[in-house]
């Protein structure tokens, strides 16, 4: 039962930072975490459990801004989605670029389309709309 063992590890290591673990089925797991623990938990998945970072998806909802960090375990096809909610007033989160280069482009993209700030990112320049879009206006952001 390798899969359960790994989930237990997450609970054991980051007790108060892991809010809820939802198992949709054997291969799809949603882990709701506190935003300040995203680097620690991602590092644990990447370095200790050797998960591959697929991509991150950001969206805006009634709760504020939500980011799903998708990690894949290529040994058993499991996808672990780390879910963080950022309140609309404080749209900043630590960058994952210190852990792996793969986070570089997607964080730039999320910053560009939704205006989420990634702290300690080496280069938060625009990725898609360089020179075609006004500064400080985010195409996906709904101003309430």
């Amino acid at each position: 039962m390798e899969k359960d063992f790994q989930i237990d590890e997450l609970k054991k290591h980051f007790k108060d930072k892991v809010i809820l673990i939802e198992k949709k089925n054997n291969r799809r797991i949603f882990v709701h975490i506190s935003p300040d623990a995203v680097v620690k938990i991602s590092d644990f998945l990447f370095s200790n459990l050797h998960y591959r970072f697929i991509i991150a998806s950001a969206l805006q909802s009634n709760l504020g801004f939500e980011i799903y960090y998708h990690f894949s375990n290529d040994k058993n096809g499991e996808i672990v989605n780390l879910h963080v909610i950022l309140p609309a007033k404080k749209t900043a989160i630590e960058s994952l670029t210190g852990l792996f280069e793969a986070a570089n482009w997607i964080e730039r993209e999320m910053h560009e389309i939704l205006g989420i700030d990634f702290l300690n990112h080496p280069n938060l320049e625009k990725l898609i709309s360089e020179g075609n879009w006004a500064e400080g206006v985010y195409p996906y952001r709904i101003e309430k």
Binding site: R27, I55, D74, G77, I79, A102, I128
Partner: protein, 394 residues
């Protein structure tokens, strides 16, 4: 003081607009920077205004070459949210289409790689042998590209059992021609000299950049969604993941060429599987998609395609995120190009098979006034052959 050599945004080497700036000292590339976004079409945003049935046609147009992998990943994603199990016949048909696409995409890459090396014989051969695969697509789906085969709960068209012998015959031809091409490419001293030890990506680079597909497999990392998280008919048949250890351009070519044999074998097994399933059972009726969050992935010719969707019980996705394999693979240029000469940098760029939109095809020529067909595909081929004969006689 380094000089900047730009490749793009519009350049004969790249069929798709993208700007690479090679910072060179003498002949050696010291740094590489790129600008993307020339081809940004806002598909993710557009998807939020389409019904689930329409999204399939939209995501098919993300890429002209892997036009089945995106609908495949999206179908996996939505079927996961709705907990939908498609009939076996649909699973086999989906797999056949995806594998045919892999063959034609790899042949296209081999041709382009030859073209980048200035070896246009390989280009001409590979593209010639790709034609029967496209003809096969036309027979099955009615289109050479953008096949419109996928829908939630199954496929739109059946492959009738009486078509199977004909498909097998074309596959035999493809296999024979692949043999010829593989032999020519693998044993050619010029190709060896230009691609061995060039643009090497180590295992650590692949893990750091999270590269996928043949790019990762050529560096000894055996990741393949078809094996790791089996979907459609892949768990029902026997096949193996092709890997190489060297990580250079030659290893990537080797992986792609050998993968074509696996694809042929997968299609043959699927065709045998089709015979056992009752004809016409190609879909189940899906009335609505519940509220939820889904993640779906599929192995495209270039690597893993990943789709994320959030639904709210209505007919539209609330958020749809698409990650194409080139998104992570292109970033590896930072490792593969630096330290190479300019001439090697181009093939290193091409080695990850950055996605080209290539849906051109031979057109019929109509008289605008009368609307009568004056030149068809066959006439155009005949005319071009005549011209070639003339040139040969000179």
């Amino acid at each position: 003081m380094s000089k900047i050599i730009p490749i793009g945004p519009y350049h004969p080497l790249q069929e798709e607009p993208e700007l690479f700036k090679l910072y060179c000292e003498g002949e050696i590339v010291k740094d590489v920077k790129w600008e993307t976004g020339y081809n940004h079409r806002g598909i993710e945003k557009l998807s939020e205004s389409k019904t689930f049935d329409q999204v399939f046609f939209l995501v098919e147009r993300v890429c002209g070459i892997c036009s089945t992998s995106h609908p495949f990943a999206f179908a996996n994603c939505i079927e996961e949210i709705g907990e939908i199990e498609v009939p076996n016949r649909a699973k086999y048909i989906r797999t056949i289409i995806a594998e045919l696409e892999r063959i034609h995409s790899h042949l296209l890459w081999v041709g382009l790689a030859g073209h980048f090396l200035g070896y246009n014989t390989v280009f001409m051969w590979a593209w010639k042998y790709r034609e029967p695969v496209l003809d096969l697509f036309e027979k099955i789906s009615g289109n050479r590209n953008s096949y419109a085969m996928f829908k939630i709960g199954g496929v739109r068209r059946d492959i009738e059992n009486d078509k199977i012998p004909e498909i097998k015959k074309i596959l035999d031809l493809v296999k024979k021609k692949t043999d010829l091409l593989t032999g020519a490419v693998m044993d050619d001293p010029v190709i060896h000299a230009r691609t061995k030890g060039v643009g090497i990506l180590t295992k650590e680079d692949i893990i750091d950049f999270a590269a996928v597909g043949p790019t990762a497999r050529a560096s000894g990392i055996a990741i393949d969604v078809r094996k790791d998280d089996p979907y459609a008919a892949y768990p029902l048949i026997n096949w193996k993941v092709i890997t190489a250890e060297e990580g250079d351009v030659f290893a990537k070519a080797k992986v792609r060429l050998l993968e074509m044999y696996e694809s042929v074998s997968i299609i043959e097994q699927c065709l045998d599987g089709l015979k056992k399933e009752p004809e016409g059972q190609t879909e189940i009726v899906v009335k609505n998609i519940p509220e939820g969050i889904g993640t779906g992935h599929a192995e495209a010719p270039r690597g893993e395609v990943f789709h994320f969707a959030k639904t709210n019980g209505s007919n539209y996705p609330v958020r749809h995120k698409i990650r194409a394999p080139s998104y992570v693979n292109i970033a590896t240029f930072k490792k593969s190009c630096i330290g190479q000469t300019i001439s090697d940098a181009t093939i290193s760029l091409a080695a990850v098979d950055p996605c080209y939109c290539c849906t051109e095809r031979l057109a019929s020529v109509y008289d605008f006034g009368s609307g009568h067909k004056i030149l068809g595909g066959e006439e155009l081929i005949r005319i071009s052959q005549k011209q070639t004969d003339k040139l040969l006689k000179l």
